[in-house]
Each structure stands twice: as structure tokens, then as C-alpha cells.
């Protein structure tokens, strides 16, 4: 079990992190660039000499600046695996030598199994500059796992890879977690990656953890608008009742299902594809419905059209809730949904989170 409670001074702010990761769990630190995620990972690894607080792994204290004398275990004695976006393979060594680098003695069986599991048999005698990006990351992962660390830290290890390779390595990581039972902390700015790999996650911004908990909760129950917009919510709408709810492009369905959430009426203005999925743009002229089903004007919100569903909003500006009666929503649609350009549609916001 990993227990982290530490502060790391940075130039413009101090990173504050407090979280626990259960043994064998995959935990994601999710947030935008410069949120302080890598600093947290670096502190756990032992590179942040200015970090204060406590870090424990399986009951062993790696850092405790509250103790006298304070405890600090050097990096090379922590026995953890660490993989970054750059594979950092030793260029003067072969793949085999890279993988065996961290082994004190030739514990060949485990390493041999890793090599087979990672599909590296054919490149064992190759130098890193002869490998593709995906192969290099496989070697980096195998190298990190070969000494059988108690903790694996991953700092956006797949960010530079193409979609298919990324998916393949995500599958490999899941398998490694399942078969070896190793605790993994992964830093990512891709929500889909966090959702795919982690059972729990923390959303970070400006050095603070905004919310942490089960991964699904981040999208279903974001604790604040700051968290919501980080996990893909693109608009806030004020309903007739005065409630302000969030709109997530993936949590809007075409049709009126009043038992599942508020229903909006709108006009389809564009119909296209984004990343292989159907995406429609709907101008919601009025939102909220009265008991008779006829539209009732309750307020409006103008939202700049994002490039596709699930994309991050363009900035942190507060939406203007009094800008006008037209709201433009870009949402995912099923290929069979009857929502051609010019058609009027009803949209149901599925159990949207409320914000004040």
C-alpha cells in the first residue's frame, strides 16, 4: 500500500498531494499539463529533495520530514519501477542488457517470462536505436518490471505513441497488473487512459487534488465545475427549477426520457464524424420543459463549439449564463439516430451533475 502526504515547492505554486493506493491497485493522477502530477511521482521516486511530508510503501517509510532525524530513503534503495514518456533506454546496451540492468543476480526465469510476455524475443540483441517507439516502451516497461519492484510509477508512458500501439500497451499494462499484482500509479492527461487502466483516480489542477475516488465517479459525480470541465463537461445549463447542471457530450441521448434526466429541445445544425464516431451539433433554442411538453424559456447559455465530444474545453473561462437564449451543444450520436441537419430533436441529459 502506498500512502502519500507531501508538499513539493515549485516555482509558481506548491504541489500538495494526499492519497492512498491499495496494494495491487492502479491509481491515476489525471490533470492538465503543469498541474503537478509529475512532481508527485518524482517525489515518490525520491528525486524531489525539497519535498516535505510522509511517503510510505507497504509500511516502510521512504520519506518523513516530521520525524527527528527525518527519514529519506535514497532513490536507488526504493526498489520501484519508473517509466516516462521517453523510454530512456541505455543506448550503449542491447535490449537484453537493458532488461537485465536492474537485476543484482541473474534471476533469469522472471526476466525470461517478461521478455516472452512483452514479445521481445526477436530484438534481444538489438540496440535501442534500432527499435520502434512502441518497442522501446515495451523494453522500458520490461526493464522496470524485471527487478520485481513493489511499485510501478508511470509518467505518461504512452503519450507519444499512436492510437493502436497505445491501446496494445494499455492492454499489456492491465495484464501485468492482473498477473503480477503490482501496485501502479499512472500520470496521464488523457481521461480515456485513466478510465481504461485505473480503478481510482485523482484530478489535479494547479498543484492541488480537486477530487479523488473511483474513476467512474469523476464523470458521473464531479464534485465541482473545475473537475467537471477536466473530465469532459462542455457546458453548464440553468434549468427552469433554478438548478444548474453540467452537459457532457457522452451523456446526452437523443429522445425525451424524462425519467432519466432533463429534456431539452433543439435544432440540428451539423452532422459529422470525429475520431470515428458520429457527432452532431444542436442549437438548443430553449431548454427545460413544462408539464405539457411545450418549451419554456428559462435562460440561455452560449457555448463555443468544441472540436468533438470528450475534448477538453478551450479554457478555464466561466461561461456567461446571461449571454442569450441560444445554446450550441456538440454531442455524440448513435449512427441510427434520426437527427439530420435541420431536424428538430429532443435531448435528454442523463442524470447530470448539479453545480451551484
Amino acid at each position: 500500500m502506498l500512502r502519500v502526504s507531501c508538499s513539493i515547492p515549485r516555482r509558481f505554486f506548491t504541489v500538495e498531494a494526499e492519497f492512498d493506493v491499495k496494494a495491487g491497485e492502479v491509481f491515476a493522477l489525471f490533470g492538465p499539463s503543469a498541474a503537478g502530477k509529475t512532481s508527485v511521482l518524482s517525489a515518490v521516486a525520491g528525486f524531489e529533495t525539497a519535498a516535505t511530508g510522509r511517503i510510505q510503501v507497504d509500511g516502510v517509510t521512504w520519506l518523513d520530514t516530521t520525524a527527528r532525524p527525518f527519514v529519506y530513503v535514497p532513490v536507488w534503495k526504493r526498489k520501484l519501477g519508473y517509466v516516462e514518456q521517453a523510454a530512456r533506454l541505455f543506448p550503449h546496451l542491447t535490449v537484453r542488457q537493458n532488461i537485465l540492468y536492474g537485476l543484482r543476480e541473474a534471476s533469469g526465469n522472471f526476466a525470461a517470462n517478461l521478455i516472452e510476455q512483452f514479445g521481445l524475443e526477436s530484438v534481444l540483441n538489438v540496440r535501442p536505436d534500432g527499435l520502434s517507439g512502441g518497442q522501446q516502451q515495451r523494453v522500458a516497461l520490461a526493464r522496470a518490471l524485471a527487478p520485481q519492484p513493489r511499485l510501478l510509477l508511470l509518467d505518461e508512458p504512452l503519450a507519444a505513441l499512436d492510437w493502436a500501439t497505445r491501446r496494445a500497451l494499455q492492454d499489456l499494462l492491465r495484464e501485468v497488473n492482473r498477473t503480477l499484482g503490482i501496485t501502479i500509479v499512472i500520470v496521464t492527461h488523457q481521461l480515456s487512459e485513466a478510465e481504461r487502466l485505473a480503478s481510482r483516480m485523482a484530478v489535479m489542477e494547479d498543484g492541488r487534488i480537486l477530487q479523488q475516488g473511483p474513476t467512474a465517479d469523476m464523470v458521473l459525480r464531479p464534485a465541482s465545475w473545475d473537475v467537471a470541465r477536466r473530465v469532459g463537461y462542455t457546458a453548464r445549463l440553468r434549468l427552469e427549477s433554478g438548478r444548474v447542471v453540467g452537459v457532457h457530450p457522452e451523456r446526452v441521448v437523443i429522445g425525451a426520457y424524462r425519467d432519466r434526466g432533463p429534456v431539452l429541445s433543439g435544432l440540428v445544425t451539423a452532422d459529422g464524424f470525429s475520431e470515428g464516431r458520429r457527432v452532431i451539433t444542436v442549437d438548443v433554442a430553449h431548454f427545460g420543459t413544462d408539464a405539457g411538453g411545450s418549451p419554456a424559456l428559462t435562460g440561455g447559455l452560449r457555448v463555443g463549439a468544441p472540436s468533438g465530444p470528450g475534448t477538453e474545453p478551450s479554457g478555464g473561462a466561466e461561461p456567461d449564463l446571461s449571454a442569450g437564449p441560444t445554446t450550441r451543444l456538440v454531442i455524440s450520436a448513435h449512427p441510427l439516430d434520426a437527427a439530420s441537419v435541420g431536424a428538430r430533436v429532443d435531448l435528454t441529459l442523463l442524470e447530470p451533475p448539479e453545480f451551484r
Binding site: V75, W76, R88, R104, A144
Partner: protein, 262 residues
Amino acid sequence: MKRTSRHVWWLIPLALLTAIFLLVPLAALAGHVSWRAFGQAWTNGGAAALRTSLVSSVVALVVILVFGTPLGWLLARRDSAFWRMVEYLMLIPLLMPPLVIGLLLVFFYGPYGAIGAVLTKFGWTATNSLLAVVLAEIYEAMPYYVFSAQAAFSQVDTGLERASLLLGASPAETMRRITLPLALPGLSVGFAMAFARAIGAFGAVIVMAYYPNTLPVRVWIALQEQGLPAALPLAVFLLLAALPLPLVAVLWRRGRHAPRLL
């Protein structure tokens, strides 16, 4: 690439002319030195001078390696104001004329100098001795090695050193298994430059130690006392002693790391 080459064709004769200009003095050796002159130069102090030069250069290089490598590493890895100041100060011995180095060394290591007086108490002398030659060669050659080492270490990705530490290798082991092997090509060139500089050291050496004669000093004496024909064979000995190591180092580095030409 070819289209670019067509526009810079006029560079080729210019480049070749420069290369010929630099190499053509070597042809003088073939035309002006006889085998008999080599024999005479060898027996007439040349062999002893070569021995002195080789011994003093090897000792100087050991000192340079042992003390210059850590300094080069720290200059490459430390970014504090103190180490930047050290770096700037290191430029002074690098840029100082060798003759001036020699004069300063005499004042410092001579019998009446601060260190010289201490050495005298132990029965050593740092003027006109092998120790004096070694000291002069160290002062002339070490800055070249230190700055080469700094450049070599700077090119080693610190991320690789971090990766090694994370894999359980201690800092010393990381230095041995990662940093030094990756810096080796640059270090070897610095080593070769320092060797060439040490074995060819003249200005500081002649001020510090007229005796025992090193090869460069012997060349100068022969030139003064007997003229050019007597000096040339000694110059050939100096070339044969000084050139192979730097050439091998440069060729080895190019073979390992430099991109292929054309």
C-alpha cells in the same frame, strides 16, 4: 541534397587548398631528413629526451585523468553560481600563454615560492627536475581535458542516470555503468588532446625545467646550436610520439558516433 551541393561547388577547391596548406609542411620532412640524421639525433640526446617526454607525459596524464575527470563532471552537472565561477576561472589557464604559465609556476614552485619551499624541506625540487616537467605539462594540458570532459559529460542524458538510479544502481555504479561509457568518446578525445598538448609542451617547460630535456626543448636546443638539419629528425620523433594516440582517439570516436560523410 544534390541540388544544394551544386550551388556550393566553389567551396570544394577552397577546402582542398586549406587542407593542402596545412599538410604540405610535412612533406619537408621527407625531403630534408636522411636515415643517418635519424641515427645521429637518436644517439645525440634524442633517445633520452623522448624517454623524458614519454614518462613525464604519462605521469601528467594520470594526474590529469584522476583530478580532471571529477572537475569536468562537476562543471557539467552543477549549475550553481559557484561552479559557473569555477568554470570561468578555468578559462584563465586555458587561454594563458604557456610562457606566462611557466613564469608563474617558477614563482610558485621555485625554491623561494610558497610550494617550492615546502618541497625543498622534503628534498624535492620543482625546477630543473622531472617533477618540474610534469607540473608544467599538467598546467599546459589539464584545461583542455577538463573542458573536453565537461562537454562529454554534458552530452550524457541525465534521464539515463536517473533511470539507472531507479533500477537500484548506486551513484557510483551509475557513474561506472552509464555515465562513463557514454561520455567515453568525448573523454577519449579530451585525453588525446591533453596528451598531444603535454608531450608538445614547450613554453612552460623550458622556463620550469631546462633539464632534463624533453623532446620539444631538445628540438629547440638543436635548432639553436646546430641548425635546422639537426632539429628536423628530433621533430620527427616528436611527431611519431605525439600523433598516434590523438589520431586513434579521433578515428575511434568518429567510427562510433559521427554520421557518415556524404
